[in-house]
């Protein structure tokens, strides 16, 4: 029996193709499951307590939505600020800045609460057709530090199927179905809602129960997006944000200021501002790796922000941020912007509320980051991801 005759037998051919499919599923399945391993966040000298998000909504315990909440309490009393990274797991400046705070900041007065991976589920899977690498690394003084790079929403295995239309609760605003897994369209969330709404609800509960005064949500945006290198502030937080923008300008960091649109629902700055007493703001930096115009998708693009397609688009006047061959590096620019912004928010808050200050004793320094990146502030990972 020659090969052609053998292959023409439908049962044999079906068997071979089925075996090949099973093999591909096994190999890639192992790869996808491996992405569920989270990157470790080391407890820095300022960490006084570690909670879990499920402490604020027990039904999250044991799910991939549960995540660590780090508390850095100062020796002296003061106000409470919440910093959230990783609501979008494909916007790494947010979670890298949050991790840097956990591992290096120490509070003198007041309380800094940090959630580095607020939508933890988003870190366990990429977005189909985006070809996201599952991880990237930064150099530290003791070796490589690994971080996950995930998708924009909760993983589909945690919440599926998407409806045709996502109706935001409680406003009833309509969005396309895939936004149902976008945590920054799910606030204030609900205790008996879908997976993403429950994660958002836990954050809202944390803000209420811990009497958080100020919420800072760290994000990034693609360079063709108009709201970039900007603070978006709820109307009650606008005066504070104006002071911060001026403070950043004095430090040589140009930043825009936008009012939170009242008719765009589900976003942290809108809903936490409306549904809790906290002042709520969001900060955006420029991340080419999540943009539609980007060229080859690599871990280097995430870290360096160098991309020739964006340079071309900038020359054609199609971007809302300047873009040249130097790119927008993660450490020296994007994380620095977030860290400097948080520091300025604490400073501006303290100036306005001297009886309830937010004073860091130790904080990542702009000059050091500009020179050495985050290497002095981060510890190397025990294992590569």
């Amino acid at each position: 029996m020659n090969l052609r005759t053998w292959w023409n037998d439908k049962t044999r051919r079906g068997g071979v193709l089925l075996a090949a499919a099973v093999l591909v599923a096994a190999v890639t399945g192992r790869d996808f499951v491996a992405q569920r391993k989270h990157f470790a966040v080391h407890r820095g000298p300022g960490v006084t307590q570690v909670w879990r998000l499920s402490d604020f909504l027990p039904s999250l315990a044991g799910t991939r939505g549960d995540t660590e909440v780090f508390v850095l309490a100062g020796r002296k009393p003061g106000a409470t600020v919440l910093v959230m990274g990783g609501i979008h797991a494909n916007e790494p400046a947010g979670h890298v800045a949050a991790v840097t705070l956990v591992e290096s900041a120490v509070m003198e007065a007041g309380r800094l609460i940090v959630i580095p991976t607020t939508n933890a589920s988003g870190f366990t899977a990429g977005d189909p057709q985006e070809a996201n690498p599952p991880a990237f690394s930064l150099a530290t003084r003791t070796g490589l530090r690994w971080f996950r790079y995930g998708g924009r929403g909760s993983a589909a295995v945690d919440q599926w199927p998407d409806p045709d239309i996502y109706l935001h609760h409680p406003s009833g605003q309509s969005l396309s179905g895939n936004q149902t897994r976008n945590m920054n369209r799910a606030f204030p969330g609900r205790a008996d809602g879908n997976f993403t709404e429950r994660c958002a609800f836990a954050v809202t509960e944390l803000v209420r129960r811990e009497k958080v005064d100020l919420v800072i949500d760290l994000h990034e945006a693609s360079p063709e997006y108009p709201v970039i290198n900007t603070i978006v502030a709820h109307e009650r937080a606008m005066a504070l944000a104006v002071s911060v923008a001026m403070g950043l300008e004095l430090r040589g960091i140009k930043i825009g200021l936008e009012a939170s649109p009242p008719n765009l629902r589900g976003l942290s700055h809108r809903e936490l501002g409306d549904h809790t007493p906290a002042l709520a703001v969001l900060m955006e930096t420029a991340n080419a790796a999540e943009g539609r115009i980007r060229g080859r998708m690599t871990p280097e693009l995430i870290v360096t922000g160098r991309d020739k397609m964006y340079v071309k688009a900038a020359k054609a006047g199609r971007l809302f941020v300047s873009y040249d061959e130097r790119g927008h590096p993660l450490e020296q620019e994007r994380v620095l912007r977030h860290l400097a912004g948080i520091e300025e928010f604490m400073k501006a808050w303290t100036e306005e509320n001297k009886e309830r200050p937010l004073l860091p004793a130790t904080y990542p320094e702009q000059a050091i980051i500009e020179k050495e990146g985050l290497a002095p502030y981060l510890r190397a990972s025990a294992d590569a991801l």
């Binding site: 190999v27 996808f32 108009p226 060229g295 080859r296």
Partner: protein
Amino acid sequence: MEFELIILLVMVAVFVGAFFLLRLPVAIGLMVAAVAGALVGGEGVPLRQLVEGMFAFFDLILIIATAMVYMKVLEHSGVLHTLGRQVTEAFHRRPTVLLMALMLLVMFPGMITGACATAIFTTGALVAPVMLNLGIPRVQTAAIIAMGSLIGMIAPPVCIPAMIIAEGIDMPYVGFFWPLFLLTIPTGLVVAWAMGRRHLRHDLDPAALAAAMQPSVFPAHGWKLYLPLVVLFVLMVAPKVAPRHVYDIGLPLMLTISAGIGLFTGEKVRLREAVQTGMKEAIPVMALMVGVGMFIEVMTLTGARGYFVAASLALPKVWLVVTAAVALPAFGIISAFGGASVLGVPMTLALLGKDQILALSSIALIVGVGEMVPPTAVAALFSAQLLGLESHFPVVRRCVLPTLAVLALAVAMLVWANWVGKLTP
């Protein structure tokens, strides 16, 4: 020549070679082209990305699979030909009015779910026998249903491309109903009339018609026969009408439940045969979605996607409308929704200054045209599948003129968006 352009050209060349020279199915051609692109791009055979890419269409693949089984159940139980017979007998004296009504019926599922496949595989299946009874040839029937599904997916209230683009530029999906309504509903009716009027038979003899059609099974089963249709309609519409009270269980489950009910409401359904034939017919279309997913993911991975978008946006602003009219439908070869997200968002941002809602509505309709661009032409492909045609290219050919007319309308609206905006409240 930039390396990303070389990768893109290799992918296109391999696809064309596989499809036209080796006569491989479109789906296999796309998969081979994706692997070739990855190899040229220095990525080896990126199994992770190939598998991840196809999951973009996982939900659609489930819809296609369950819809084909549902259709087979309706066919076996006698629903399709009985409904076709009853509607034809009732309205054959006014075929033009009937044709318009059928067009609206085809568009309806697309209007509430935003997907052309839903329209074709649900109401498309119901209206096809009626159109055939009215004298419209099989290929033309497929073409009308394909056009109806294309226009229906853009029609309000649910227009996914408009929603995707609006979200991409932080614009609430509010105020789109009337612009989209005016762009699509009259267009759909005109298209149906233009495509069907020459074939409509106004002199149908009731006796001859009755003899030509399959016998009705309505006397044997009564209204119970139509329960699978009613259940599907209720399951689809209820979450839209009362979203706070009725959970959207997803179309695949709706179709499965309705098919399950259809096993007991009409003629005996040979379940095994229905599932086997349904799946056999669905596999080429499902495979196409798999191939498209792989193709786009490799384009993204290698930078070919970025090259395509950057090159489209690099043209002078006065040429942007032309670029939109060419590049957005061209992206539809691989995915119309993908085109809305990848190219539609930056294109809309580049066109800032025009009446935003009208401009975005026009761009959404241009994106929709992508569903008719060969060789994939998914609207024609699904429709040809529905009518049992061997190839969808004759359907595409019949749709060329109406598609160009729809594109011209959308481009005109885009060009004169500010002027039209002043006329609307």
